[in-house]
């Protein structure tokens, strides 16, 4: 049986009323946090306390709370999704923190992810990159060829899946010292570049997605590898290399 334990913590949280006002770090004290709680449940508890004391609760993005929707974010103690690796914030648990610890909670910081309120940022730039080319141009008639008509090498299919496992949370951008979105874009470009269905328009795809990425104001990749370490889904840097390759092919050939 895991020992039931409660801890008291101090929180330093970014508060910002809306996109057009300036924000600042505020300090809160929260007692009796169960170490079995998830990080977001701890924030629920803080918000309950804030509401009960006639204060405005902290706004933060979250939805599925099982690590797959990519909606939760948060830069916790200087790291995207907190101190654990391979974990989204919603799957981070309070047992990773010590009694009396001060925890810094900040929104993703990127020009392309402007703060909407408190800890919520606008990640629609990712959507626009996707709209620029993150698809196979096939109509949804269902009258395509049989799914098994084109065998796909298992290793390519597996690699495509691993790239496609990206949840679009933006931790790569948040953690990159340059605010670069290359891991996100690289993963999408790779998924399609690895599959025969996606190869046909691979050149246009990579050129258009990279153009959109640049227009959104993301920084450049300097290969620090931080994104790969902090990615909750472990998306590999190989995907960035593949995108670089695809881009070169598309530009030169």
């Amino acid at each position: 049986m895991s020992a039931k334990k409660n801890i008291n913590i101090n929180l330093k949280i970014w508060r910002q009323k809306n996109a057009s006002t300036k924000g600042k770090m505020e300090t809160y004290k929260l007692d009796n946090v169960s170490t079995d709680s998830s990080f977001l449940e701890m924030l629920d508890q803080l918000n309950e306390q804030l509401v009960n004391t006639q204060n405005e609760p902290v706004a933060f993005d979250h939805d599925c709370r099982e690590g797959i929707c990519g909606m939760c974010s948060l830069y916790i103690n200087g790291r995207a999704h907190g101190p654990d690796t391979g974990t989204t914030t919603c799957q981070l648990h309070m047992r990773k923190f010590k009694d009396g610890e001060t925890i810094f909670i900040e929104p993703w910081r990127s020009k392309a992810f402007p703060v909407v309120k408190d800890l919520i940022v606008d990640r629609s730039s990712f959507d626009r990159i996707q709209q620029a080319g993150g698809f196979v141009s096939v109509n949804t008639s269902g009258n395509t060829i049989d799914a098994n008509a084109t065998p796909i090498n298992k290793s390519d299919a597996d690699k495509a899946f691993e790239a496609a496992a990206c949840i679009g949370c933006g931790a790569c951008v948040a953690t990159c010292k340059n605010g670069s979105a290359m891991l996100f874009v690289g993963a999408k470009v790779s998924q399609y570049a690895l599959l025969p269905q996606g190869k046909i328009e691979a050149a246009d795809r990579v050129l258009n997605m990279v153009r959109q990425m640049d227009e959104e104001g993301f920084g450049n990749c300097t290969n620090t590898g931080a994104c790969e370490v902090e990615c909750p889904k472990g998306i590999s840097l190989e995907n960035i290399a593949r995108m670089n390759r695809e881009y070169l092919k598309a530009s030169v050939l």
């Binding site: 049986m1 895991s2 039931k4 079995d36 709680s37 998830s38 977001l40 701890m42 629920d44 804030l50 509401v51 009960n52 405005e56 609760p57 706004a59 939805d63 599925c64 709370r65 099982e66 797959i68 929707c69 654990d84 974990t87 799957q91 648990h93 909407v116 309120k117 919520i120 606008d122 990640r123 629609s124 959507d127 996707q130 709209q131 620029a132 993150g134 698809f135 196979v136 096939v138 949804t140 008639s141 269902g142 009258n143 395509t144 060829i145 799914a147 098994n148 065998p151 298992k154 299919a157 597996d158 495509a160 899946f161 496609a164 496992a165 679009g168 998924q191 599959l195 269905q197 996606g198």
Partner: protein
């Protein structure tokens, strides 16, 4: 108003084809003049928006999340069924149809389910063409696995993230249409009412969740694809934002709500650990292939475990009660979800639960036997016919890791216990709602021009859904049904022209939404929204949960009625209406959940039989199995709204006729 399900004539295998041949069409040059609103961007919504967009309609799509890619379809783990028969094990459209009807405990519409089975193969073709990376075997062809309630391998999957891959596929198709300008996407918008003009759905009122602004959007047809209502229980495997509001708003404006009491409780979730818990996490059904479910046979052992004085590994083999294997020797640990869930509840209610939470609800899912079996096998393969215990353990754990590694890691992250060493603790949790908005064969609700797709409608799963069928239904509705049936409806709208949002209907609808928001904001109560939501959840779980009875249901109707009054009297919603206000969003959703909860209790009370996910304690056989009453209850209960007191709602019955399948009792012994 009589319910007309509009099921086409003819043989079951020809109904859909004939129907499609007779549906009206809209010419390509007319489509851009027609607006369609799609609310929700999960599998059903995203696929519908993408399909209608590429046909040339002017589509507006709405989701409350920050991106259409976040919809909760993304969390589906296991797979998607399709009658491809790639494994050559005797699968066919008819078999998938039959399994789904039987799995639904003979409470689904034959024609709809057959259509679902017919288009299932197209879904796989479509998704592969879109670049969805399904699992493949070494020959490069698609792999399949088997799932509960079937005897064939027809489930296509992408590791444990099939829902994610399918949703991202639909999202990519949607993104393409957004990029082309055929679909306009409204992220962080929540639909708060439907607008009817001359009885037809003509638009919606949506709240911009960032600015708080109320927006009027008009359209010639409105599609609701906003998922299920499992969050009425507060704790469920649904996403935090999953809500019934869109469905409930159209219900209030005239759409019937069908079979609300059909709720699927998934047997393998991580048990509740504390009062601050916000969410239950599913452990894939596939674990039941390798794990044995048990509780201590002696109550004093269970008590000692809860007190932390005894560890499960210390309980001797003869003191363990493998209750599923005991009760259902034929299917053992692989009985359908509803059966496994009820059996767990029965043991815990009897005092054998092992989790030290408020309700002692939890049972063990034990992999130790599988570790030994697989360890010995692996040793044999290595040529070691007399391996040491340590080697058996090592090899066995390695096998388990290769098969379920990611689930075990997730379990350990959440519970801080190592499931390789100590049995997993699991308990059933609310997972999926088979009930939903009543729709006819064309997926149109009782409001003309208002269509409902995916989990939000009631149509295909009867009283219980089989694993890997939800993804199939969502995509079938969006890709292959709505494009035809919505066009058929819109064929009569080509002369309508642009619909103004300045009409009194829009003004009134916006006004009433504004009023309900202001009422909540200015309420000056003392208790948070979650306080009421948790209370509602407890009533629902205890009295409208896995096992229901007349007394409990009657009490629930009373208590929820009281809760509704308390909610409006004492809820505190901080902040303002004209800003991003998550508490307000929750309050608006919970207000609808409260009304729905009451209707669920009422529906459950009136359904005096046990079927699928609906188990009435009064209606069971001597061995505690469900007793269906086909004589009196082979109907869809479609409720008509009649004021916020749901107990006054009016029941309409749609008789279920089984012409092509012989009704039989489900038996898993």
């Amino acid at each position: 108003m009589a319910l007309d399900s509009k099921i086409p004539q003819g043989h079951i295998s020809e109904k859909w084809t004939n129907h499609k041949n007779n549906l009206k069409l809209v010419a390509p040059n007319n489509r851009p003049k027609i607006d369609v609103i799609v609310v929700g961007t999960g599998l059903a919504g995203a696929s519908a928006a993408a399909s209608l967009g590429e046909m040339g309609y002017n589509v507006k799509a709405f989701c409350f999340q920050d991106s259409p890619r976040r919809a909760h379809s993304i969390a589906a783990q296991g797979g998607i069924n399709a009658a491809k028969n790639y494994q050559n094990d005797g699968d066919s459209t008819y078999r998938l149809f039959y399994d789904t009807i039987k799995g639904g405990d003979y409470r689904a519409r034959e024609a709809n389910v057959h259509r679902l089975a017919e288009v299932s193969s197209n879904i796989i073709d479509q998704c592969v063409a879109q670049g969805v990376p399904f699992a493949r075997d070494y020959g490069g062809l698609l792999d399949n696995r088997s799932f509960g309630g079937t005897q064939v391998q027809r489930t296509f999957y992408a590791a444990g993230q099939t829902g994610q891959q399918l949703l991202l596929g639909a999202y990519s198709a949607l993104s393409r249409q957004i990029g082309l300008g055929n679909v306009k996407m409204y992220n962080r918008h929540e639909m708060l009412d439907i607008v009817k003009v001359d009885g037809k759905a003509r638009g919606i009122i949506a709240r911009n969740l960032i600015t708080g602004e109320l927006e009027r959007h008009s359209a010639h047809a409105v599609i609701i694809a906003t998922g299920g209502y499992g969050n009425v229980y507060f704790l469920s495997t649904n996403a935090m934002g999953s809500n019934v509001t869109a469905s409930w708003k159209i219900h209030k404006k005239g759409a019937h709500f069908a079979n609300p009491c059909y709720v699927q409780i998934h047997p393998t979730c991580i048990p509740v650990h504390g009062t601050n818990q916000s969410k239950l996490t599913l452990m894939s059904e596939s674990l039941r292939n390798s794990g044995r479910i048990w509780v201590p046979a002696k109550k004093e052992d269970a008590e000692a475990i809860r007190a932390g004085k005894l560890r499960p590994t210390q309980i001797a083999e003869e003191d363990r009660d493998y209750y599923l294997e005991r009760r259902y020797p034929a299917f053992g640990n692989l009985v359908p979800r509803d059966v496994a869930s009820r059996a767990a509840k029965e043991r815990c209610d009897d005092g054998h639960g092992i989790e030290a939470n408020d309700t002692n609800e939890g049972v063990y899912l034990d992999f130790s036997a599988e570790i030994i079996t697989k360890g010995k096998q692996a040793a044999l393969i290595q040529g070691d016919s007399n391996p040491s215990d340590a080697k058996i353990q090592e090899l066995g754990k390695k096998w388990v890791e290769s098969k379920y590694g990611n689930l075990f890691t997730m379990y350990e992250k959440i519970t801080d216990e190592n499931p390789y060493e100590t049995p997993m603790k699991i308990y059933p949790a609310v997972h999926y709602t088979m009930g939903g908005v009543w729709v006819d064969y064309n997926l149109m609700s009782s409001i003309p021009g208002c269509f409902v797709a995916g989990e939000a409608n009631f149509s295909d799963h009867g009283a219980n859904r089989l694993g890997a069928s939800a993804l199939m239904q969502g995509l079938a509705d969006g890709y292959f049904v709505l494009p035809y049936t919505v066009s058929n409806y819109l064929a009569d709208e080509i002369r309508t022209g642009k619909i103004s949002t300045d009409t009194p209907e829009f003004v009134d609808a916006e006004h009433s939404v504004r009023q309900s928001i202001e009422q909540l904001i200015n309420n000056n109560g003392t208790k948070s929204v979650d306080h009421f939501h948790k209370k509602l959840g407890l009533i629902m779980w205890n009295k409208v949960g896995m096992a229901r009875n007349e007394k409990g249901l009657s009490e629930a109707i009373e208590e929820i009625g009281q809760l509704r009054e308390d909610f409006y009297a004492d809820v505190k919603v901080p902040g303002a209406a004209n800003e991003l206000n998550q508490e307000l969003e929750k309050a608006l959703r919970v207000a609808d959940f409260i009304e729905l909860g009451q209707l669920m209790a009422k529906d459950a009370l009136l359904r005096k039989e046990s079927c699928g996910g609906h188990f009435r304690e009064e209606y069971q056989d001597a061995e505690g199995e469900t007793l269906r009453d086909d004589e009196n209850f082979a109907y869809v209960a479609a409720w008509e709204y009649n004021g916020s007191d749901a107990s006054k709602s009016v029941l309409h019955k749609e008789e279920l006729k089984y012409e092509f399948i012989k009704i039989a009792a489900r038996n898993y012994k």
